[in-house]
Symmetry: C2
């Protein structure tokens, strides 16, 4: 059925195709999209291969390209497989830093972009908050609102994750100051001083965040980001309170008491910081937290920790915002990761981006600005991304992908659990929910070596924290993909383990 | 020729069309895009009309919608004409806050999105800095690099205007600190302290900006924004130096000496601020300025002012960034507005967004970070926008649209000049370059009344500053559009003038 969607005839071009490695190569100029998923990885060159290296050198003449890992042929990529420009076919467990929801070139997305009724949305980007398209609410209802976190009924779209966090924080500041004014309009002095950026118009408020947190790279988002020097070094970022995020010991069942103590310690720190900053005249207006810290090392905390955090926030009138940019859209087995926490009430704000294809945040009515253009910019998002999300949400629901994520996740983390027992010198701290999680290697050096060897065998993964490998597959990953991954991973671990042993024997 | 592109047959649907007001209405479910530009405005209801008002009430249940002016039928909009959901056809002189370069549903853009070879770019958004598509450099070369400001050969893409400014500032901070370190790596203390957000890792540096400036609504961009309370009120925005931007007297030829004095005063303020902030231990690293202040009231300054500014920056080792988010992409008659200034050398950084369809900034090699992932985020822009920009640049070049902008602008501002003489009690401070400019009304109230009456006659414009109307047409505006606009404007001015006179006579 899937392939039927693609069986149109390329006009005026050669119709001769050679089938190879699961995609069609056009003999004409017209490049055709892949039409089915490869059966397995297929590696022809080292990675990056010669074509990638040439492109890297060329691109480096016009920009810093040092983050490039390899160049991709997105036409040929399909499903869970990424194909690079050298023809290497990789099972993708990293998916563009966790931002591809249902796989490359998914037929539903191809269909969406080809629909006559969608065309004008892709080419006429509106000033969405001023001149929205007539079907805007309908589109929101069948995409973002159809998957809104329980208890959150209002929605603000934005273009990217950092902007979602920035404007989510602004919504908290606005609500805080409005409450403080008790219904009075801002004073003349406030209106005047805010232009230059001083109090009382720009009051000295702050947001509490956590060690190892990552929330984005614009100035406000950086103020609550505390994971790696590369993000903040050299920038005059606001200094705001930072509490410890629990660093749990694994396996969890063997460290119950220590972990409870660790989480208690962190919660006490949160409360102490709120009290002391409030006293010092820089009130803590909000708290922003990831449900699982991603960039900072895939640090998980318990449901009880988040329940306790909400209680403290509530007690001190601090708004609670959950940053679901990396965790949202189903990869933990629930649509929103914070749904695992059974919070007493919904968080005040939930920010998203990446796999949601559009940025934005959900908010409680209390956080709706009362005036026009307070949370605003020219584009405030992009309806064409919402149309694509609409298709993604439909696929997730129709194919019951959350159930699949949970099933596949059991195989993935079950297999990894076995390896952790098998390679105790290499693997530790396995943690995950659904298909979202990480495992630690002994050092950054060994972690990077494992990632590189995995890639050479046809599996693309990414690192996080100091020495973790993070798994961020699409929601369409299946057991047979996991089998392939586990097989490759096992063989890499075996190689690395042997060479470690050898070098240790040599030392001894 | 244009219409040929659209002459495919809608599959399985009725082929009966009724032609009405310049667009085709399908009798089937399949909604067709407009295929030609209306000949004139056509107003059927008040604006917002009944359908817009219903949609407004519905949308307001899920978000603050107070900025909405009316809902748009983007399928039926074409060229310089915007069609609302009530069937009102308006000549658009505001174009989504200056962000539509070559008109609605331009055939080249329709063709671009329908091209088989472009499809995968629209549905597989990459982590662009890590896994770029194979044709990325080629695409950059035929879009952003093909129109790079003279002297600027490097390019960083971003998703929106605010992010472009934020990361442009970060590039200046990085270059400043690198130079200060004299080739040494950052110290251990710097690496540690930057995580919490304090010096020396996050040094107390600042950026100088101007009164009435607007650069965006994230925290760093807000620190250099000083136009209206709605942007900054309640937010703990960094306090950085703000200099006066010249407020020139018009007509320019009658106020040469005062205006020179005003610009000298502003430049002295800039230099004084740099010296005093440097002394106070918060060094001024960069200066960000719009070539014409837009949101803040369409304030123009002379080429000499900008030359003087560059000289001062250069003398004090302050980087100069030009924010061309609203002015870039040809609307002033040159591709980049700062090209009007004959600067001794190119600015250090030029930021863009809006009509460029993608955000980003050009930079001198000195501002290229030496490490990976310093200027970075998951998406760093969107290749699908660059593909659309490629088509836009092609149209601008092939149709020599910059020449057209200059020709059309002469008619537009020539006509407005006549009205300014004809209605001296209503109009003043006419200013513009190319088709980009403004005229002042006596008060915000009268300005808003004029905008509303113009809309009722079928011309969509926008305000800026306190009492200006700004003109931001597409680059495809022609003399016959200007004739229509001038005719409607004249009739509105006549009405308002008469009613003003009447009310003044009544008072007397």
């Amino acid at each position: 059925m899937r392939t039927l969607l693609y069986r149109y005839v390329p006009a005026l071009k050669s119709k001769i195709y050679t089938k190879s490695q699961g995609f069609h190569k056009s003999v004409g100029v017209l490049q055709r999209l892949a039409i089915e998923e490869p059966k397995a990885p297929f590696i022809q060159t080292e990675i990056p291969g010669p074509k990638s290296r040439t492109l890297f050198n060329e691109l480096s003449t016009v920009q810093n390209s040092l983050a490039v890992q390899f160049f991709v042929d997105y036409d040929k990529s399909y499903g869970n497989y990424l194909v690079d420009v050298d023809g290497n076919v990789m099972l993708d467990m990293f998916t563009q830093i966790a931002s591809i929801p249902i796989g490359y070139n998914h037929p539903s997305l191809v269909e969406t972009i080809k629909k006559e009724e969608n065309l004008s949305t892709f080419i006429n980007r509106p000033a969405l908050a001023v001149f929205p398209p007539g079907d805007w609410l309908k589109r929101l209802q069948s995409s973002l609102l159809a998957v809104a976190p329980p208890g959150l009924n209002e929605i603000q779209t934005m273009a990217c994750g950092a902007c979602s966090i920035e404007h989510g924080m602004k919504a908290m500041f606005i609500a805080y100051q409005r409450k403080k004014r008790g219904g009075q309009p801002p004073s003349k002095e406030e209106l005047q001083t805010c232009i230059t950026g001083v109090a009382p118009g720009c009051p000295d408020l702050c947001i509490l965040s956590f060690k190892n947190a990552f929330h984005g790279r614009t100035m406000g988002a950086l103020a609550i980001t505390h994971s790696k020097p590369v993000h903040k070094l050299d920038f005059p970022v606001p200094y705001w309170p930072m509490a410890s995020f629990p660093i749990l010991k694994y396996p969890l069942e063997e460290n119950v008491r220590e972990n409870q103590a660790e989480e208690r310690r962190c919660l006490e720190e949160v409360e102490d910081l709120i009290v002391s900053w409030n006293k010092s005249g820089r009130p803590v207006v909000g708290c922003v937290i990831e449900p699982m810290q991603a960039e900072g090392g895939d640090n998980f905390a318990s449901a009880e920790f988040f329940q306790g955090l909400q209680e403290i926030c509530s007690k001190h009138d601090v708004s609670l915002a959950i940053d679901e940019v990396q965790t949202g859209c189903g990869s933990t087995g629930k649509f929103w990761a914070h749904e695992h926490f059974n919070l007493k009430e919904s968080p005040d704000i939930v920010a998203f981006s990446k796999k949601m294809l559009t940025g934005g945040f959900y908010y409680k009515e209390h956080y709706r600005p009362h005036e026009a253009q307070r949370i605003f910019n020219t584009w405030v998002g992009d309806p064409s991304k919402v149309i694509l999300l609409e298709a993604v949400v439909k696929v997730i629901k129709e194919q019951n992908l959350l159930a699949r994520v949970n099933d596949t996740g059991k195989c993935l983390f079950g297999g990894l659990q076995g390896f952790q027992t098998q390679y105790p010198n290499l693997l530790s701290r396995l943690r995950g929910l659904g298909c979202y999680g990480s495992i630690d290697l002994p050092s950054m050096e060994i972690r990077d070596k494992v990632i590189s060897k995995l890639r050479a065998k046809g599996v693309n993964t990414g690192g996080c924290g100091e020495k973790s490998i993070r798994f961020r597959p699409t929601l369409t990953l299946e057991k047979h993909h996991v089998d392939i991954f586990l097989d490759k991973f096992n063989s890499v671990l075996h190689e690395v383990d042997s060479s470690q042993e050898k070098s240790e024997r040599a030392k001894a």
